[in-house]
């Protein structure tokens, strides 16, 4: 009786559609976007730069670790109270998605990361890097109140994880001391609802 039940159960399972199967995809019609496998820490910065310039959100999100945190410039924290509380991977991804879909012309975003200083920490379990960069970002978007030119300094903490893949776990933003420029954090704050 037991074996009959097992056979019936097996037949029933065989007759069902596999609930874990993925759906089939259409063959690609456009390019992949510029992406380097992040098996070196500096590739994470190049991928971040390219994801902005090509507005490919997945390439951007793949630069962030699961426990990602963004820390704005203290001036932005004062200017946009409460916006940056508990700003993690989900908030970063949602806001960047909104920035990427805010313009219509080709190349409406231009990002340059320059003067990179890397500080490497060796750990047997996987290295970590504190990367300090100067950024210059132009977003010719259609949201009237949002800034269009951003400049400043960003500190990225990049860690080597499973499979030798490097991701960014912490981003500290610092605005430039030009009176007419805004910070990256301010752009995010405006798109987050400020």
């Amino acid at each position: 009786m037991k074996s009959v039940t097992l056979i019936l159960l097996a037949l029933l399972l065989c007759g069902c559609e596999n609930p874990f199967a993925t759906r089939s995809a259409d063959p690609p019609s456009i390019r992949r976007g510029t992406w380097e496998d992040p098996t070196f820490y500096d590739a994470v910065l190049r991928n971040l730069e390219n994801s902005y310039n090509e507005q490919i959100i997945d390439n951007f999100t793949d630069c962030l670790s699961e426990n990602f945190r963004f820390f704005p410039d203290p001036e932005d924290n004062a200017q946009y109270p409460g916006i940056f509380d508990d700003w993690g991977r989900e908030e970063e991804s949602d806001v960047t998605h909104s920035i990427f879909t805010s313009g219509t012309t080709t190349g409406f975003i231009e990002l340059a990361l320059v003067d990179t200083t890397m500080e490497v920490y060796f750990y047997p379990s996987g290295d970590s890097v504190k990367a300090e960069v100067i950024y210059d970002l132009t977003v010719e978007q259609e949201k009237v109140s949002a800034p269009r030119h951003m400049a400043g300094r960003a500190i990225f903490f990049i860690f080597e994880g499973t499979g030798g893949i490097w991701t960014m776990s912490r981003w500290e933003d610092s605005k430039a001391d030009f009176s007419d420029s805004c910070s990256w954090g301010e752009l995010k704050a405006v798109f987050a609802g400020g």
Binding site: F20, D26, W35, E75
Partner: protein, 603 residues
Amino acid sequence: MLKVRGRLLPCFLFFVAGSALPAMGSEYGLTFNRDNRTYRWNNFLQYTGPVGQKMQVHASGNLSKTLIKSASGFSGADRWQDSYSLSAVLDYLLTGWSTIGINLAHQENSVNRGEITTRTGTLSSSIAFHPRPSIRLEQFVGGKLDQKKQPNTDSREEGLSYGLSGSWQPVIPKTRATLKVALSGDKLTAGHSSSHTLQATVNRQLLRGAKIILSFDDQKDGRTNLFGPPEATVLKRQDRIGRALSLKIELPLPRDHRLHLSLSSTDRRIEYSLPEGPDEEAAEQNSRKTLQGLSAQLIGHTMKNLSFTGDFALQGGKNDFGRDINDEDLEEISLSGSLEATLSSRDSLAIAGQVARTSYDTPHPDNFNDRDNYRSAAKLSYQHTFHTALRLVVEATVNASHLVYLRSQRSANNNWGRLYAIYPAVHIRPLENLRIQQRFSISASYTEYDFEDLFTDIKSNIFRQATTTTNLSYSLADELDISFGYSYRAEDFGRLVREEGWVEVLSWDKSFQNVDFSISYPLSRRLTVSPHLGYGHRKEYDHHQGQRHFKSRLRSKHIGLSGQYSLGLDNDMNFSISRSVEYATANPKRIFDRLQLTLQHAF
């Protein structure tokens, strides 16, 4: 300078006043930290103590300053960030079940020595009742000052700050129930904020050990503020609303098995409006995420030394954004299980596995992000104790994932990821005061792109890694410890080319070696010091057309000294100073200095 002195004075007086009071659980601390171009100072004081028989005072102060030398990289100007906070609470016990109090709080943050300053001050009175052990009510009301000073705009707001909260834990047989309600907010000249919370939980024991748990959580935080750049500030209201409802049932089954069933629903919303009411433009930033879940877990013991769990979960939800193009629906199904067996007094085995799929569907025709994400994982752990001084632990994992974008605009990056890894480790303790750990790991991570044949550039790849780590710690005497560590890691990366199966074309390889040594030594009864040394070495090679070419070398030396000076019961001074030097191919020598001093005194 006078301004800084003016701000420091209250803190200094607070420290002095605090030190003079008869103490009960009070302490102060000083910390200085330097990390290359960043300098941080932090002082804090906490005091809790009785004043007479019916009064109790709680006071705390914090002063911190941060200096970033040559901060922004453009003009090379230094950047200062200062903040200090003070709070004092004086409680008076009116009766055995009621307390009244006065609360004072002040917080100030300043950037670039007053270029931007925010100040918040509150003075309020409070009353608390707990007429029965199961009921507690608290209320406060007072005045609040909120001041913001910026180069182009100054703002000063005054108004009311209020709060009301209560909790009730009714006494019902076989039931634990809790109800919590809280309401608080500020009503200032322009900016308003409000927060309300409602939490209810009922946990009831049913027949034969069965249990049912129902919980509800409702939270709404709203604030009206000036948002946006100084030239285009807009007064907006932001409401963050979160609701969660869950029902859990725990059922006992025959043979000591248990079944847990769970239903849950969450709703998180962020809504924007203008003070005068809803606004179409403001609502473009609204977002709403809803999620409904169903899960079942079976926990059991089939034999004396064998236990297992099985989990099944279904989730469905919707991410709804103000701009419809970003909307998406999600559905997730997952199945997991684990098995733990004690094979003998010396052997144990654990096996765990999971399979899951998450699907996203985007209703808007111009959003091409419809996608499925498949994940599976299996893990095996085995432990064998040869002897009390020798133990072997082996872990092996196999993980797989498949990312599938359905639309042709996004499917170019569809790929399979597979990771195979094994981690053996040996723990040896040949002597009571000597511990040795030897760990190894070997892993291979494959990424294979689904539509590789349609592109000229190859992205499919393999990453392989092998590591060995040795850690040794030896206690020579009480508080005299030596530790040594060595690690070696080798890894390579290559493209996977499909030619009658996959063929690897190596792109690069690198190796790492790291040695560190430290000794902890009591110089005197009060002072323990710990010098440490480290050396790291990395070599990288590129591969072209089967030839290996030297790419770069990085050497890193590290020297440091840390210590602890005991100032008596619970009072310590800690210090740490270190220098790291890096030599990299074709780069100048780089030096990184760090310094930290900490003083903590309980009185």
